[in-house]
Amino acid sequence: MSGLETALPPSSSERVTVNVDAEAAILAEAEETYQARKLGFWFWASAGWLVLLVLSAVFADLLPLKDPTATFRGVARDGPSAAHWFGADNIGHDVFSRTIYGARRSLAVATVATLVGFTVGGIVGLVSGFYRRTLDDAIVAVLDIMLAIPGLVLALALVAFFAPPGTASPTAQTVWATFALSILAVPTIARVARAQTMVWADRDFVLASRTLGTRNLRIIVREVLPNILPAMVSIAFIGLAALIVVEAALAFFGVGDVSGVSWGIMIQNGRSQVDRAPHMVLFPALFMFMTILSLNFIGDQVRTLFDVRESGI
């Protein structure tokens, strides 16, 4: 392009057109970057769904919902109606209110586990990626071993042995289920945090900070941490989605307090009734699907945003 320009005689009109073209290209590129960085409709739809779900789960007691444990007479296995929006299950529970109340347990267990994984995994990853050497080797070996047992099998084994269904109290089972899910979350998040820390700790601004005599802890917190957060948040959203599935899967195997209300328990109870009352399964399954899709989508979007900023510099 520039070679062509110099070869042409410097006529003023020509140069103007060339300038306009260049400006248009830059504008188009800027527009493209802007479009790519803008959060689209589906991002806000996903976020809206999650906010709505969390709010209604938290404030379920204040909402005009039917009692999820009440059995209504004469409606067992009836499909959706004006009185029971999502129909009723095989013993006359209201499926709509159970779906809302069920979100509580599913979301609470998975969220607590993700937060634990985020904190512990983040610290482990930062330390491991920042100090490297022997400490890093040791931590990586431990993480590899934690990942050496398939997640669901590990969670099942922990809960089945340490809080066996029928023997342990419901609270103990829930606590153990949450603990088992946290164990699954830690190595995944730690690996991402470690890889990111290694990238950012090599940047010049970290070296500059070190040259100024900044202590390691301050470098980690002020220079590295803010930069690795987007990747960690992204993986946390995707991990949360995965943990919701594992939580429900535990209910399928009958471990981790199956006496309460949760999506996994509803699907598990409903599948033997699926030919007569499909709505017992379909509505909690739909809620679960939309929640997981939203989480995956937001996780993806956060990562895309983050990538653009990386390459935009």
Binding site: A141, R271, V274
Partner: protein, 383 residues
């Protein structure tokens, strides 16, 4: 004679590929001859390790250095699970199952060395486990290893079918999405993939059962759905191949969809990278057709990440297979595990966890070695 010499020459020049082929022969041949599965696996495993060390000895030694402590810790964890459940007498009651007497308990404490310290018991247990003795299920009245040996093939078949199906869907879809990168075709394919990734496999399984096995939803006169495929029961392949695949169809689809979506996304992003390289531009300039560029030029260099993930993914696949089996009442490891947890048959739970965990560690180790053996870039680094 000369052909034989050419063959041995080839074997010397490419030991990795030769031993891998040999391992496959051992597996298939062993199956035909009726060799016990464990022995065939061990033989194939040893062959691949030998081949890989011939290709890249340092790498194999380093991996072995990690493999051994991993195996020790995984087995110790599994052992500890069982033994965290109380003192010697509680454990003896567990082994006896319902109906245990005081005299029986004393006998069991003797027989199982339950009065020894924990680490001694671990070694005793490990030496028994290596020889295939995982104890006896009090409830099923059968050795645990026998229970597992009967169930494992079903799980393996299910996983195999799901992987084949997932690749068959994911590769064309990924290539197409990369070809149409960021245009409408890609947007649609990628959105579908994200949605497919977000359907938990057990939800998909229940929905599939509803619409393809139980006749679907009926509202008034109209009904959506069919009763094409069976939703439960297992038919061994040897008994009736057609029925076998008909019974495996729905479980395999339920397990494969999420996997396919994951593979498609990986292949798509790698392929988009490859399509921007110079040799693709060269091929285009020479007038090679798009179809040929995609399948003959771009696919192979784009598929290495896919292959790695294919191996690593066994973990999700194992978990998925366990759930799917319980839903379709296939007599695999998942059903065994679920029943054992329900019946508090802890020796069986322990056995299944041990076999799955150790199998998974070994498979990952093998995939790493195979990768070093088969990827020409890794091979040439050494040469």
């Amino acid at each position: 004679m000369r052909r034989l010499r050419t063959l041995t020459n080839a074997a010397r020049h490419n030991p990795g590929l030769t031993t891998t082929a040999g391992a496959l022969v051992v597996l298939v041949g062993g199956w035909l001859v009726g060799l016990p599965m464990l022995w065939a696996f061990l033989g194939a495993f040893a062959l691949i390790v030998v081949g890989a060390s011939a290709v890249n000895g340092r790498y194999v030694r380093r991996r072995l250095l990690i493999l051994v402590p991993t195996l020790v810790l995984v087995t110790a964890f599994t052992f500890y699970l069982q033994n965290s459940r109380g003192d010697a007498r509680d454990l003896a009651f567990n082994i006896l199952g319902p109906g245990g007497t005081e005299a029986g308990v004393d006998e069991i404490v003797q027989e199982f060395h339950l009065d020894e310290p924990l680490h001694t018991r671990y070694l005793l247990w490990l030496s028994d486990a290596v020889r295939g003795d995982l104890g006896r299920s009090a409830i099923q009245g059968q050795p645990v290893s026998e229970v597992i040996a009967n169930a494992a093939p079903v799980s393996l078949q299910l996983m195999l079918y799901a992987q084949v199906l997932a690749l068959a869907v994911a590769v064309p879809a990924g290539v197409y999405a990369a070809y149409k990168a960021n245009r409408r075709g890609d947007r649609v394919a990628s959105t579908v993939a994200l949605a497919a990734l977000s359907i938990p496999n057990f939800v998909l399984a229940v929905v599939l059962i509803l619409f393809f096995a139980l006749g679907g939803i009926r509202t008034g006169d109209t009904s959506i759905g069919s009763t094409w495929l069976p939703a439960a029961r297992y038919v061994p392949f040897g008994e009736d191949p057609v029925e076998h695949f008909r019974h495996m169809a729905l479980p395999a689809i339920a397990l494969a969809l999420g996997q396919a979506a994951g593979y498609m996304r990986i292949l798509r992003s790698d392929m988009i990278g490859t399509l921007q390289e110079n040799f693709i531009t060269t091929a285009k300039a020479k007038g090679v057709s798009d179809r040929r560029i995609l399948w003959a030029h771009a696919l192979r260099p784009s598929s290495f990440t896919l292959l790695t993930v294919f191996g690593v993914n066994t973990a999700t696949l194992v978990g998925g297979a366990l759930i799917i089996e319980t839903l379709f009442t296939l007599p695999g490891l998942g059903t065994v595990l679920g029943t054992a947890i329900f019946q508090k048959d802890f020796l069986v739970v322990q056995g299944v966890v041990l076999v799955v965990a150790v199998g998974f560690v070994l498979v990952n180790f093998l995939v790493d070695l195979l990768y070093a053996v088969l990827d020409p870039r890794v091979r040439h680094v050494r040469a």
